[in-house]
């Protein structure tokens, strides 16, 4: 185990999604209570082995959504990694259930979903189930670690919008590229234009 110097500690491991991790940065996720859910024993083993390399000893390994639900009802976790494609209850259904479960703190736990292939019919599920991140394969240690560090630094609030409950899905900070399409911001801009016009008229 490395003992981090204060200067290394001050330098953050990553800035944003997709940014490469700096090799010298130090992270400590040793104490993370982690659950991995995958119907494939081999894929589950690969994920736990990768986590072990990062210093995370997986506390719960589950082969099905039902098994995971039983544990999540009773035991608090810090991180959930779940496969999208599973028989009976798939990963999307598990995450949707978790977010709506009212279980505190588990309903707010960071969730990384993994997928070998995302069905076209499931793309909206992947977006709307409430996961913090969906990682599509090829599986690599660097991608998994990059996403892990990112969600550990994730400051997005949790939102309830209609059927959705999960982290704010808007990643981008600041101005949107191209024409603004967000209705709330369009209405705000219209209001401000009208107010400015009215003030000019008054003056």
């Amino acid at each position: 185990m490395a003992s981090p110097s204060s200067s290394a500690r001050q330098s953050r491991a990553t800035g944003g999604v997709g940014e490469t991790l700096r090799e010298s940065a130090v992270i400590n996720l040793t104490g993370a209570v982690t659950m991995v859910v995958d119907d494939s024993p081999f894929a589950l083993d690969l994920t736990t082995q990768a986590l072990l390399g990062f210093g995370i000893k997986t506390r719960y390994t589950c082969n099905s959504g039902a098994e995971a639900m039983a544990i999540l009802r009773d035991q608090p976790i810090d991180l959930l990694i779940v496969d999208c494609e599973m028989p009976d209850m798939d990963g999307y259904a598990l995450v949707r259930w978790l977010r709506r479960s009212g279980l505190d703190p588990n309903a707010f736990a960071p969730v990384i979903m993994t997928a070998a292939h995302v069905r076209r019919s499931k793309v909206s599920e992947a977006r709307d189930c409430g996961a913090s991140f969906v990682v599509t394969k090829p599986f690599s240690a660097s991608t998994l670690l990059e996403r892990l560090v990112w969600i550990a630094r994730d400051t997005r609030p949790f939102l309830e919008v209609g059927d959705y409950f999960g982290p704010d899905r808007r990643f981008r900070q600041g101005e949107a590229p191209g024409e603004e399409r967000r209705s709330s911001l369009i209405r705000k801009a219209q209001f401000e234009t009208e107010r400015a016009a009215a003030q000019r008229g008054d003056a």
């Binding site: 081999f42 390399g53 240690a141 939102l159």
Partner: protein
Amino acid sequence: MAVITHAQRRSNLSQMIDKPGGVSIGVALTQARANIEAKRGEAAAVVDAQILALESITAPASPAELTARLEQAYHAANAVIDAASPFELDDLCRASAGLCDVIDAAQPGQAFDWRIVTVHARSLRLLQTLPLEETVARTQVLESLKQILTKKLPPKGSG
């Protein structure tokens, strides 16, 4: 539509990541890659078993059987990607992903050309047995599969 924003809370992960101790990113990646690499032999056995499973799926005798057989084939192809992708067996992953795409695009109640599954199973077996240095032959296999996908998949944006 009403939007309820929950008070921002720091996850346990965010509280522990900067605590003293831990491991550098470089060391973490080296350890994780070594742990994964130790599974290479097991991965080859899983890939072999899943290709065998794919080869063993018989063509459906009736439309009623089609959905279940396609699901079996989808899961086998999916499992090949699971096992092959961490070991840079990109050709196997590409061929399997193509089969997943075709099965995913199959419309319920419509006929499906089962030869697509058979050809993919044979191609996967060929890619698995061909030496890695046989790049020309491997490319040819992938090109043939690509032609099938071009014919059978709906154009992008139509779904």
